[in-house]
Amino acid sequence: MNDALALRAAAEQQASALPPLLAAAEHLASTVILGDHGRRRAGTGDTFWQYRPAQSTDHARSIDWRRSARSDASFVQDKEWQIAQSVVFWVDRGASMRFASSENIPEKATVARLLALACTILLIRGGERVGMTGSDLPPRRGTLQIAQMASLLSQDDEADYALPEARGMLPHSRAVFVSDFMGDMAPIEAALTSAADRGVRGALVQILDPQEEAFPFDGRTIFESMTGALRHETLKAGDLRNRYLDRLAARKDHLTQLARTTGWQFSTHHTNAPATQALLWLYQSLAKPA
């Protein structure tokens, strides 16, 4: 098998994942009705917002004569304030995300990508600029960006726990971090702090498998990370349950605390729950005024 063929096969394999992901993301995005994305205040934009009596500071040019002709006063047509926002995504590509406790539950990575792509579609439809952190895909608008997002999201990382990429974030833009946040907390803290320094707000979505939340294990067990790099042996897994759950709760607390101090939003999504909930939460948290 020569290189060209291998490349072709790999490309086919990659591409084959895209349409379903895209389709699923489109499907998910279609469940959210657009409409509360506008700024709901007068500003620069294309869309009519309201008529208001002309002030002395208004240019005569800006008076809407058609409206003014129907009454004695002069009116000015306000446009709705429309600013194209930049939203950058960071989706954990680490091996830990490729975990599903049962065949009936999707992998965490699948859910994370689906969520990110569905949100991307919604944002693009809303006229925002969407991209990825880092330098791979700077924020742009247009449906082509969706396809590019999809192809980038489909890439996997070999490391157990991927490090967050905080570069490439425009000041005062929005950011979405989707991960299980199971790895080291220091890089995440650093990334969030640097983002907050630049005035970037956003949302942290923690994707967890129900088994990670319940720890339903017993007996002598060797726990291995997805790559096998990390391992922990216990003789009575049942005894560890409470302590594990304590640590998990502490980590969630830490993330919540971190989000509060940096002005971000934090939520946990379980892979056995419908993705729509997470999508709605994510969309609304992005829609909140900065």
Binding site: R220, I222, F223, L235
Partner: protein, 922 residues
């Protein structure tokens, strides 16, 4: 063989493997259960967490114990354990096995023969000759030593006798013993004088081993009559703590079947070897008792037969003349009452009432005229075996009864007026009695001089008078005459029953004469002089096992043997009869005391029980297997692998095990379920025949009928149910389908009682012989015979083929034929009333009452009705469209039948509609 208590091992060296168990313990402890590998992203959170207990890495102790037990069971199992190994008895001399062979042996005779068989097996193994002897049937010419195999073949012939060996027989037997031999003596446990001498004799020939189990022996003494109650006593040995023994009084019920008439507990006080109980029973019941028996004890000692001593005859006393005011002493019945009340039960009342009670004797004192019905009843009663005893008196003398022709209720014709002798207005002296002639029932009674007769009624001379006269006055005039009538007899005493005409009632002779006439019964058993020269025929004999066998073909027994009273080879216990009297010979006398045999200390006394050799290998290996199975489940549980489907399987296995051990509550539960299922809806039932195919067809047939009913009528039955006559309650079912199969077993007595109750309370049974009625009402088909056998004890009214106007022909459909899979016209139902009349303007009779309790036919309806799960007919009926029509008619018959069951004669009541309308119009 290595013996350890009651267990021996065939391969004891394997037991050394048990030493390895502690090593195994250490090894198993050292190896913890294998870990499970799990992919888990949350491992990052686990890093650094240590286990709380370092101990738990070892296998838990109970799991270790389980495994060790399994392995120990395997090792011990293969070592070949044997429970109760038989030890060999050394010796080469011939073997004499003596069994007492008395009634006390009978209770556990099988155990004794088993023991003897084991001893003979032993003797056969060591090549010894052996002889088996019972002392109650000791061979006259000494024991016959033969090879043990031959002797053991004769063992089944050995049986105990219902008496004890007497010293003379045992003495004769002990004199026949010669040579050296060892003796095994199976004692019945009762002390006996003859034992010591026989034991000494046996010991002079070789070693003696005695087998005797300490056990309680109870022997019933004859029941006696005391103050109107039956007193029953029993002796027991040993006299230990207080004991209560259930005793049953057994006799024939009015239907002639033997049954327990009364049951009572006899209590032995602690330390006493005699127990007593008093039974107070109504005379009717008391006279029926034929024996008393200790319940559930198979021994002649536990049975005591009753004879005349316990019977009290019922005597009805009726005086003529109504309520004449007078002194008691003048009452015609006063002396009779005095003479009879100690030994007989007296009945008073009018003749009609008395006849209903069917007494043994009716005494008519000076009763002359009887109403025609009374006379008829009395005649019938005498012909059935009653004794009518009449006394003369002024009324009889004055009446015209038996003047010209012989009155059927008088033994002779009477002359008018009678005669007076020795009175103030007459010549002569009062007459005395002549000695009783031979052949008279009074023969042998001494005639006291002071009995005189002053008046009497006089018999007309007749050719039969001499034969009928059984007592005469000194001048030859008959005083007592008798004639037989049917099975009974009529006796006329020519004087009054009071002291008016004679002094006879004042004398002791009066009582004796009544006794001889069997008006009263003998209060105690006859003495030797009375019995001398008589022959008594055995009626029934008691076996050693306490069974009463018919013995009427046995030879009679001389009275002097009977007078001895103790049972023996020449006088087996039983019931002996002579003419009117019956004497019971029982195992125990009225004063019998029994005690336990004591043996000298030098004699080895062993128990009777032989413990059978039991190989335990299989059980131990099975136990090991079970333990290993549970180890599998336990290991999974410990290793945290008992989750998901595995846990379900384990739980199911455990549940199956538990359910297997606790079926009883489930059974109780199902009885309730059955009742609820049968009563929550109309349910058609079918009787389980025991033939699976027939039962399935019945079920399918009734399902088909139920479906049809559901579709066509307002009856909406639930699925049909199988009914087991023995266990299930029938009252829930309005209708039972009963297919009769040729080899149907008869229902039990309880089931019949249930069936009859069911039929009487309005249930209906459809009997289906399924033989197309080829034999015309089942006279000779196998099913027909089975049906006859089944129906014999059922309470079934007279039957007739369904008449054209039967209500079954119009309860829902108008039908004239009742086909099933076959089409025979003969279907039988309860016969209509014979006086049924044609209804006005209707083509049928007025037949208003009753649902027929049975419908009998052979048309194999179930097959015609049967449908499978998809509702298709299961069996072809006839051919083509005609067949389908026949099936349709079969369904219609079914609908009509169930309608008839549920609505009764409603359709028949329609004949009254015109009348009702007419009345409403008014």
């Amino acid at each position: 063989m290595f013996t350890l208590g009651p267990i021996a091992f065939t391969a004891p060296w394997l037991l050394l493997g048990l030493i390895a168990l502690p090593i195994l313990w250490i090894l198993l402890r050292a190896v913890p259960p294998a870990p499970i590998r799990r992919r888990f992203p949350g491992v990052a959170l686990l890093l650094g967490l240590t286990d709380a207990e370092s101990q738990s890495d070892r296998t838990p102790w109970w799991l270790l114990l389980l495994r060790l037990a399994a392995i120990a069971a395997i090792i011990i199992g293969f070592a070949g354990p044997v429970l109760n190994p038989q030890a060999a008895r050394p010796g080469t001399a011939p073997l004499l096995i003596i069994a007492d062979g008395t009634w006390a042996d009978a209770r556990d005779w099988e155990a004794r023969t088993d023991r003897i068989a084991a001893l003979l097996d032993d003797a056969a193994r060591s090549g010894r000759t052996a002889a088996v002897v019972t002392l109650t049937a000791a061979p006259v010419d000494g024991p016959d030593f033969q090879s043990a195999e031959v002797t053991s073949q004769r063992l089944p012939n050995l049986s105990p006798a219902a008496w004890q060996p007497d010293a003379a027989t045992v003495g004769v037997f002990s004199e026949t013993l010669t040579g050296r031999f060892d003796t095994f003596w199976l004692s019945d446990g009762l002390a006996r004088d003859s034992r010591a001498t026989l034991l000494a004799e046996l010991e002079s020939h070789g070693t003696v081993t005695v087998f005797q189990t300490p056990r309680s022996i109870v022997v019933l003494r004859p029941a006696r009559f005391e103050d109107g109650n039956i007193v029953l006593s029993a002796a027991r040995t040993p006299s230990g703590p207080a004991l209560s023994v259930p005793v049953q009084a057994i006799g024939l019920d009015p239907a002639g079947a033997e049954r327990v008439l009364a049951a009572v507990d006899m209590n032995f006080p602690a330390g006493s070897d005699v127990g007593e109980v008093t039974l107070s029973l109504p005379p009717e019941l008391r006279n029926r008792i034929s024996r008393f028996a200790v319940a559930a004890t198979r021994s002649a000692g536990a049975v005591t037969l009753t004879d005349d001593a316990l019977r009290r005859r019922e005597v009805a006393l009726i005086a003529g003349g109504g309520d004449a005011e007078g002194l008691d002493l003048l009452s015609p019945l006063y002396y009779l009452r005095e003479a009879l009340s100690p030994t007989a039960d007296l009945i008073d009342g009018t003749l009609d009432d008395v006849l209903l009670a069917n007494p043994d004797v009716i005494v008519l004192a000076d009763v002359a005229n009887l109403a025609a019905t009374e006379q008829e009843g009395l005649l019938q009663w005498v012909e059935g075996g009653g004794l009518l005893l009449r006394f003369a008196g002024s009324r009889l003398a004055a009446s015209d009864v038996g003047r010209t022709t012989e009155d059927p209720l008088l033994p002779i014709r009477l002359r008018a007026g009678g005669r007076n002798v020795g009175g103030a207005m007459s010549w002569g002296e009062p007459k005395t009695l002549a000695p009783f002639p031979e052949g008279s029932p009074f023969f042998g009674l001494a005639v006291p001089d002071d009995v005189t007769v002053t008046s009497q009624v006089v018999a007309q001379p007749d050719p039969t008078l001499a034969d009928r006269s059984i007592a005469q006055l000194a001048d030859g005039t008959p005083l007592v005459t008798r004639k037989t009538l049917g099975e009974g007899q009529i006796v006329l005493v020519h004087v009054t029953a009071n002291a008016e005409w004679s002094t006879l009632p004042l004398s002791g002779l009066f009582v004796q004469m009544l006794e001889r006439l069997a008006v009263t019964t003998r209060p105690s058993s006859p003495d030797a002089t009375e019995l001398d020269g008589t022959i008594w025929l055995p009626q029934a004999q008691l076996s050693a096992f306490g069974q009463l066998n018919d013995a009427t073909s046995e030879a009679g027994i001389a009275g002097n043997v009977l007078a001895r009273g103790t049972a023996g080879p020449d006088l087996p216990p039983g019931l002996y009869a002579s003419e009117d009297a019956r004497i019971a010979v029982n195992v125990a006398g009225p004063d019998t005391i029994i005690s336990t045999a004591q043996w000298p200390a030098r004699i080895v006394v062993e128990g009777l029980e032989i413990a059978r050799e039991t190989l335990l290998k299989g059980w131990l290996l099975a136990a090991a297997l079970v333990l290993l199975m549970s180890d599998v489940i336990a290991s999974l549980a410990v290793g945290g692998r008992l989750k998901g489907p595995r846990a379900d399987v384990a739980a199911a296995a455990l549940l199956a095990l538990l359910v297997g051990f606790s079926t009883h509550p489930v059974a109780a539960q199902t009885a309730d379920d059955f009742a609820i299922a049968a009563t929550s809806n109309v349910v058609l039932g079918y009787v389980i025949t025991g033939d699976t195919e027939t039962d399935e067809i019945s079920d399918a047939g009734l399902r088909g009928l139920s479906d049809t009913l559901y579709r066509r009528t307002s009856i909406e039955p639930a699925a049909p149910m199988a009914v087991d006559l023995e266990t299930d309650e029938l009252a829930f079912f309005p209708f039972l389908y009963w297919p009769v199969i040729a080899n149907a077993p008869l229902p039990s007595r309880d089931a019949y009682a249930k069936l009859n109750r069911y039929l009487r309370s309005g249930g209906m049974i459809l009997f289906d012989t399924r033989d197309a009625d080829t034999a015309r009402f089942g006279s000779s088909s196998p099913e027909g015979r089975a049906l006859q056998a089944i129906a014999r004890t059922l309470d079934i009214p007279p039957l007739e083929p369904i008449p054209d106007d039967h209500v079954l022909t119009r309860t829902f459909y108008l039908l004239q034929d009742f086909p099933g899979r076959t089409d025979s016209r003969d279907v039988w139902v309860e016969a209509s009333a014979p006086d049924a009349e044609l209804a006005d303007g209707m083509p049928f009779r007025n037949l208003n009452d009753g649902v027929t309790p049975v419908v009998i036919g052979g048309n194999d309806w179930a097959r015609a009705w049967a449908i499978d799960a998809r509702g298709n007919a299961m069996f072809p009926v006839g051919r083509g469209q005609a067949g389908e029509t026949q099936r349709e008619y079969a369904y219609r018959f079914g609908v009509n039948l169930i309608m008839h069951v549920l609505t009764g004669n409603y359709k028949s009541d329609q004949v009254h509609v015109p009348n009702l309308l007419e009345r409403l119009g008014q």
